[in-house]
């Protein structure tokens, strides 16, 4: 199906474990983004990518790693999960030009125990 899909939908992990959140889009959009949503903070940008093999830090990148070997995939890895990384994570994509804003995935709810 066309669109932007995130997996898993829900994830519980233990402190110190590595966990990867997946994001896949079918539009060949140039730009992809990872945000986290926390009460009182709205959405905060973690990392973004302008194209395959081009990534850059956002507002809150510490503790996260991204890669983009293919245009359609943009995985987010928490190298050593901490409880402060408990959050809802959203992936988004945007076509070149950015005049239409973003299209968002359904989100991944991550709980670190």
């Amino acid at each position: 199906d066309a669109g932007i899909t995130q997996s898993p939908r829900y994830k519980i992990t233990e402190t110190g474990r590595q966990v990867t959140l997946m994001c896949h889009q079918t539009w060949s959009h140039s730009y992809m983004f990872w945000y986290r949503q926390d009460l009182g903070h709205g959405l905060r940008l973690i990392y973004y990518s302008a194209a395959a093999d081009i990534t850059d830090k956002g507002e809150v990148p510490d503790g996260y790693v991204v890669s983009r070997s293919k245009t359609e995939n943009f995985p987010l890895t928490l190298e050593s999960a901490t409880r402060s990384q408990t959050s809802v994570y959203f992936c988004a994509s945007s076509e070149s030009g950015g005049r239409h804003g973003y299209t968002f995935g359904s989100g991944t709810r991550l709980t670190v125990v």
């Binding site: 945000y35 009182g40 959405l43 905060r44 239409h100 804003g101 973003y102 968002f104 989100g107």
Partner: protein, 114 residues
């Protein structure tokens, strides 16, 4: 730098009454402005945008927003609210010259009572 402020955490209105959700922004250049809505356990859905042109923009589900450059505001409005409009609303801004990064407000929870 770019930023968005949504001064109200919550807005409560009765069904059939007008609904307004406030948003002010700050950018160094010309803004691209967006409104998104989020229903429980769902991703954000696009409502409307202002890029250029008419200051009053119309979007999905009967919503509209007015761009006011002098007041740096982009308030979301609906003439007659429905119970189904109850959701979390986000305003977002991007500086025209920015690298496509959107900055979001903290969100406003709208509750429409029957």
């Amino acid at each position: 730098a770019q930023s968005v402020a949504q001064p109200e955490d919550q807005v409560n209105v009765a069904e059939g009454n007008p609904l307004t959700v406030k948003c002010t922004y700050s950018v160094s250049g010309n803004p691209y402005l967006f409104w998104y809505v989020q229903y429980p356990n769902r991703g954000l859905q696009f409502l409307l945008k202002y890029i250029t042109g008419d200051n009053l923009v119309k979007g999905s589900y009967g919503f509209e927003a007015e761009f006011n450059k002098s007041q740096t505001s982009f308030h979301l409005k609906k003439p007659s609210a429905l119970v189904s409009d109850s959701a979390l609303y986000f305003c977002a801004v991007r500086d025209y010259g920015n690298d496509y990064k959107l900055s979001f407000g903290a969100g406003t929870t709208v509750t429409v009572r029957a």
